[in-house]
């Protein structure tokens, strides 16, 4: 199609839609939980997303930044984010109280291939704030528990106070239909009842897995991937079933601004979920 024939009037990919902060509270000292809803009820209910996708959040005057969605599409209406205070936009977000207005657009990115994962076993490996994007797929698998095989979660945080959604994970331990192992690098409370050590020390506690039938989902700080992937490869999980969701600088979310480019792909369009095969194939991903 000739570029002149395209209509710009219909295209509003950059326009933030007004949304209201319904609830916000601290998860840790520098991580806050935000529950938001589009002001337009129709928009709130028709916002279809996949676990692992992200949205662009605008704070009036402070700017816009990408955040992975922590809620699950199986519970529509409200969107949840857990956000670490790190830059201009997040600092401004932290100052906003409940009922404040923000701008929201999305959803963007590929998300986790939940259709392909249907009927398979799921192993979720979380490091620190990696819990933010993985919470979506975890809650999704719990809400659709009969669609998946085994579900196992390994979560490592620096200290007990920095384990976000701590209560949610402890309550998972009570469930008989999934496996949950928790660890902290160091226990500064003296009250930690779970394991101490980095997340990879949890692997030996995992029950025997059916590797060809397992999808491993990983998210954590950049330094974590190398070590976790080594363990997953050792377990013989196929390279294209090891999935990770990555962070990059993004200014548009729709493949225009260039910042998230890696080789011939854009993280915002072709990611943020990549397989270990992508990592080997494209380099510079992790």
């Amino acid at each position: 199609m000739n570029v002149q024939d395209k209509s710009p009037a219909e295209a509003k990919p950059f326009k933030p839609e007004p949304a209201r902060i319904v609830r916000t509270y601290h998860l840790t000292e520098d991580v806050k939980f935000f529950q938001v809803r589009f002001v337009d009820m129709q928009k709130a209910l028709s916002f279809n997303y996949k676990p692992g996708q992200f949205a662009m959040i605008s704070v009036l005057g402070a700017g816009e930044a990408p955040f992975s969605i922590s809620s699950t599409p199986s519970r529509p209406g409200l969107l949840e984010f857990c956000i670490r205070r790190a830059g201009t936009v997040t600092n401004a977000l932290f100052r906003l109280k409940e009922n404040s207005l923000i701008g929201l657009r999305g959803p963007y990115g590929n998300g986790f291939p939940v259709e392909a994962m249907t009927g398979k076993d799921i192993l979720i490996v979380v490091g620190g704030l990696g819990a933010a994007p993985l919470r979506s797929v975890l809650l999704y698998s719990l809400d659709n528990r009969d669609q998946f095989g085994r579900v196992a979660v390994l979560y490592g945080a620096k200290r007990p106070a920095e384990m976000i959604f701590r209560e949610e994970y402890f309550s998972l331990k009570q469930r008989s239909d999934l496996e949950c192992h928790l660890a902290v690098d160091a226990d500064d409370t003296g009250k930690w009842t779970e394991r101490v050590g980095v997340v990879t020390t949890l692997f030996p506690h995992l029950r025997q897995i059916d590797a060809p039938n397992t999808y491993a989902l990983v998210c954590g700080p950049p330094v974590m991937y190398k070590f976790v992937i080594k363990e997953l490869v050792k377990l013989a999980i196929p390279k294209n079933q090891i999935l990770m969701t990555l962070e990059r600088r993004m200014k548009c979310g729709v493949g225009k601004c260039g910042h998230c480019a890696i080789d011939y792909i854009y993280t915002c369009l072709d990611g943020p979920v990549f397989t270990y095969w992508d990592v080997i194939h494209m380099r510079e991903l992790i």
């Binding site: 295209a11 700017g63 200014k251 260039g258």
Partner: protein, 352 residues
């Protein structure tokens, strides 16, 4: 496609007629270089201009513009900077540059800030003659088959005018008497001879077809770090490149005022903070990593995605980079032609 003949002395009357329709922009002299500018006095138009400092992309995506006005009530698009324009004197390489940007800006999530000016800008191409830095023949961008409303081939005796679109045809119909539909055998011969001579005039040649493989094979080559040491990370190469699309977005709010603006401005992948995320993690901290990204994107990645490099052979990086890091010298390094000392000397000079 119809081709008409326009006598040389009929060009200004034609421009006179069409400039009533929209703002007329064309290359004019700027020092010893050229730049696209709005023209009322047609004698300012540099008919034999080489590349302009900044390519035609500046008309489609200005270096700086306002995307939104915002208040507490929400965001309102601002497209007030867009006007109807006729861009005359666009060279083949720059037309290809726009066709490349079209892919990025309009294929997925069409960008209204690009589409609107793109639609409202008529492209009147003009043939040119290569200088020692032009290599558009190597990128096959010395000829255009699409992407223009009219294209003027500047022969010694007259112009041959290709009509590339319906609205281009409308321009001709404003003053149809200026144009001659009957091309003589002599006109055709003159054109063929002109084209042959032009094609032989290129002094720079690069084998682009080999470069994707060579980029891969040279991924860990030491010359990248030497190049990085020489690079000033000034961003000039990306500003002048017709296919560089990267931009940054920032909100501006004035002291004591509630309303503000969301500004979009050109960004460069060679600048230090390009790949830095909040919290301080920088995925391309070193200059050579960022340079390699640029060349990966131009010579290799774009080929994987669209089947051709995103370099259009305009030679702007050749004449702009203060330390001679450009498509020609990098291609030579990839081919293993340049002695390593070349970059080492550059690096030394750059840090002196």
């Amino acid at each position: 496609m119809r081709i008409l003949k326009l006598q040389k002395n009929c060009l200004f009357p034609f421009l006179e007629a069409i400039s009533k329709e929209a703002e007329l922009w064309a290359p004019v002299a700027k020092g010893d270089k050229f730049a696209f500018d709005r023209v009322a006095d047609f004698s300012r138009i540099a008919m034999n201009a080489t590349r302009t400092i900044i390519p035609a992309k500046k008309i489609m995506v200005p270096a700086n513009f306002n995307m939104f006005h915002f208040t507490e009530k929400g965001y309102k698009e601002d497209l007030s900077h867009v006007t109807d324009r006729i861009l005359f004197g666009v060279h083949a390489c720059d037309i290809h540059g726009l066709l490349t940007l079209d892919k990025i800006f309009t294929q997925v999530y069409p960008d209204p800030y690009y589409l609107e000016p793109r639609k409202r800008t008529m492209i009147l191409g003009l043939s040119c003659w290569p200088d020692e830095h032009c290599f558009c023949k190597s990128t096959h961008t010395h000829i255009v088959e699409e992407g223009y409303d009219l294209f003027f081939t500047n022969l010694e005796s007259c112009f041959l005018v290709w009509i590339g679109s319906s609205r281009g045809d409308d321009l001709i119909r404003l003053v149809p008497d200026l144009f001659d539909e009957n091309l003589t055998e002599k006109d055709i011969k003159t054109y063929i001879q002109w084209q042959a001579e032009r094609d032989n005039a290129f002094k720079t040649e690069i084998q682009f077809v080999r470069l994707p493989d060579l980029m891969e094979l040279n991924y860990r080559a030491p010359f990248w770090e030497e190049l990085g040491a020489a690079c000033l990370a000034c961003g000039s190469c990306t500003m002048v490149c017709p296919t560089c699309n990267c931009y940054n977005v920032m909100d501006k709010q004035f002291l004591g005022e509630k309303p503000g603006q969301r500004i979009r401005h050109w960004d460069s992948c060679t600048l230090p903070e390009y790949s830095e995320v909040a919290g301080g993690e920088n995925f391309r901290e070193k200059k050579f990593q960022r340079l390699k990204l640029w060349y990966t994107h131009k010579l290799q990645a774009y080929v994987s995605k669209y089947g051709k490099p995103s370099c259009v052979g305009c030679g702007r990086c050749l004449v702009t980079c203060p330390v001679q890091i450009n498509v020609k010298t990098v291609a030579a390094a990839l081919e293993g032609q340049e002695p390593e000392a070349f970059w080492k000397n550059l690096a030394k000079e750059a840090t002196r």
